[in-house]
Symmetry: C2
Subunit: 225 residues, 2 copies
């Protein structure tokens, strides 16, 4: 039996909170009395106390974050790294602190409700196949639109992607050595553009991304016991 690779996570918290109609970036808003981002880091720490956590934050938020950690007595060990111009660059900065023989999950800072099961499955699949992406089915009729027309497509053939997206670190680091393209909307796309393939697995509708004010309320509802 081979040794289980060391686990790590790059948590990307880039947003400026513009859509939230609030001055605080979304990741610092309180959920159940605790900043969203602390929930997110805690989820990975609870999964594996030996995990290496790299948090990528816009440079001007580092001081706020360290104040928050003090205020909420958050002592889980993690490295804070400055973000870049686009999410692509932020992830790349984070991956610079990961070792090639590790597994690395890349996760949105504003997905605080990720489950232990989804995290675990991502590492297991990545250890075996190289790349893993949690997805959920599309439960509404979906249309493909172009300039001149639009038509319904078979929704059962589509999946919506979530994070964490988990990889063999060497391979995703190699993928992030290429130049940025605006069409990269997630890490799996960067990875695949190098010829690698990802395995899709079942995510959860509860693993929501806090994007709009109502999402924070929804997260509160989901958290309720």
């Amino acid at each position: 039996m081979g040794q289980v690779p060391h686990k790590s996570v790059v948590i990307v918290a880039g947003g400026k909170g513009k859509r939230m109609d609030t001055l605080a970036p979304k990741q610092f808003l309180l959920l159940d009395g605790i900043p969203v981002l602390i929930h997110t880091l805690q989820k990975f720490y609870q999964y594996d106390h030996n995990i290496s956590i790299v948090l990528v934050l816009p440079q001007d938020q580092a001081a706020i974050w360290s104040d928050l950690c003090r205020e909420y007595d958050f002592r889980v060990s993690h490295k804070v790294v400055a973000g870049g111009a686009e999410r692509f660059h932020s992830v790349k900065h984070g991956l610079a602190h990961i070792e090639d023989d590790w597994l690395v999950a890349i996760h949105d800072g504003v997905r605080p409700l990720v489950s232990n099961h989804i995290i675990d499955k991502g590492y297991k699949i990545a250890a075996h196949s190289g790349g893993a992406v949690p997805v959920v089915p599309v439960n509404q009729t979906i249309r493909l639109v172009d300039e001149h027309s639009n038509k319904v497509v078979a929704r059962e053939k589509y999946r919506l992607c979530q994070t964490p997206q988990t990889f063999k670190a060497k391979w995703i680091r190699e993928a992030y050595n290429q130049h940025f393209k605006p069409e990269f909307t997630d890490d799996a796309m960067v990875y695949e553009s190098c010829g690698y393939h990802v395995v899709l697995y079942e995510g959860s509708t509860q693993n929501i991304k806090i994007t709009n004010p109502v999402d924070l309320e929804i997260a509160r509802v989901i958290l309720k016991p």
Copy 2:
């Protein structure tokens, strides 16, 4: 200036509530102290007091519904029609009570949060073009999956469809004269299969469908002033 056509709505409330882990069909669950379905009918009545409302219900729910109307003192005039085997047949039963020169919106009974604006825009577009469908953008990475592979597609080219879907009654009634096909997942598909086209317009992420228990909680949050 032509006369504005009479407005009508067919509200389809078919579900058995299996997914809700409760014995009550979803449309009878309470939202803000009132059954979901009463909210839905009220939205259309508030939009236009002269509207003709046809409610399609499974036969065995008619008695419950009339009890609820009494209990909640709901006096808005509407016709109750028995549903069919599939949503397709239920809509068809409802359309039998609509006149050819009317406009008709077809709406999910479990979308109680539809706005006045979305209802109004549907009728206006349908009066002009024949068919109108409210849609929202896809805000997650989306993948197309087949037996052997999967790939990311350009999410900006896709839209998720909602209801009400609004039509010139004559044309949608004609479309519903064809035989049922299992691939019909909404009314616009039935309509288009006769060679007609629909106009897409902006829906709202708040116009949710109550499908799972958490959706009812989300609806409560959205309703909060």
